[in-house]
């Protein structure tokens, strides 16, 4: 008689078990695994891009107005609603959302699965009183910025958060946005008036 697998069977009988022995032997997730979210509020600029791209509606943003004119912005990530697709981290202009390799997400209540972070957004610096105040009011209503005749974009500085998304979306690199210096510049020769920047702007502050 022929036993084709006898050698294999005997070697498996005395070999090491193929079982992962998990609770006794701790196991680490593979590199690039998308587990628990860590949010870095100090890097966040509250542009709202993560909230827009989230397919599971797992991200909520709440704004609390403080007495001194500053805003306390809180972002809540509900891991119980997350698909761990990492779209929010990919779209984040400031790398404020990080996916770690921690997969131990066991909860007995809904509160255990919430990741929260908040930061205080400083109020815009007030200019000298008098005529400047009037200009401020105008800018807030958007009346201070007029659309151009040639269809090229104009940014409303009162609403712009300088998140640089428009500059990165621009197909001809006509926009230069500097977050530190708070400047928004348009290269009129390069601009093709396609409107991509206005569509991409999370604050709807680009006027065509």
């Amino acid at each position: 008689m022929d036993f084709p697998f006898i050698k294999e069977a005997v070697s498996q009988l005395f070999g090491k078990s193929s079982c992962a022995m998990y609770p006794a032997v701790p196991s680490e997730a593979a590199e690039g695994y998308r587990g628990r979210i860590v949010y870095h509020p100090e890097r966040c600029i509250a542009c709202g891009m993560c909230e827009r791209v989230c397919s599971g509606n797992a991200i909520t943003r709440s704004v609390e107005h403080l007495e001194d004119g500053q805003d306390k912005i809180t972002l809540t990530f509900n891991l119980g609603s997350c698909t761990f697709c990492a779209s929010c981290a990919d779209f984040c202009a400031k790398q404020a959302i990080e996916f770690t390799r921690d997969y131990h997400m066991i909860a007995t209540s809904e509160e255990d699965l919430l990741v929260r972070g908040s930061f205080i957004k400083a109020a815009p610096k007030k200019k000298a009183p008098g005529p400047a105040k009037q200009a401020d009011c105008q800018a807030q209503s958007g009346a201070g910025v007029k659309p151009r005749d040639d269809g090229k974009p104009v940014s409303d500085p009162s609403r712009c958060v300088y998140c640089t998304i428009c500059a990165r979306k621009c197909p001809v690199q006509a926009l230069t946005v500097d977050r530190a210096a708070k400047t928004w510049m348009l290269d009129e020769e390069k601009c093709i008036a396609c409107g991509t920047c206005a569509q991409a702007c999370p604050k709807n502050c680009i006027i065509l």
Binding site: C19, G35, C82, F84, M105, A107, T108
Partner: protein, 147 residues
Amino acid sequence: MFKRLIEESTEKSPWLFHINAGSCNGCDIELVSILTPRYDAERLGFKLAGSPRHADIVVVTGPVTKQSLPRVLRTIAQVPEPRCIVTMGSCPQSGNVFRGSYSIAGPLSKYVPVDVDVAGCAPKPEAIIDGLALAAKMLREKRGQKK
């Protein structure tokens, strides 16, 4: 004496019953993977039961569709007390990407008290083993209260 022996044995080996409430099959595959030789939850006493009447732990996957809701509730009602309900993946907890759909009746916690949530989409097999171990611990506590 017999009763005590049975109680002690069931404590060490909670049986699972798996309900698919409209799941995409990702979590179901992961649940099967913990029972296969690679992760082998049977060495920890977990065994997949064929009938809800034999089960101690109910594992629900999927966002609880309107079609599946009466069946899910009827099946859970057949599981004898004390029982532990474990939701697996994001779907039964919140609806996940299906939230707001006309055919979704979830989340499951609206209808039955959920004991353990295992988050992930789909959760890693190690996380499921952790969740089931927690469920087994809660089951033991529930039995202790009943005595």
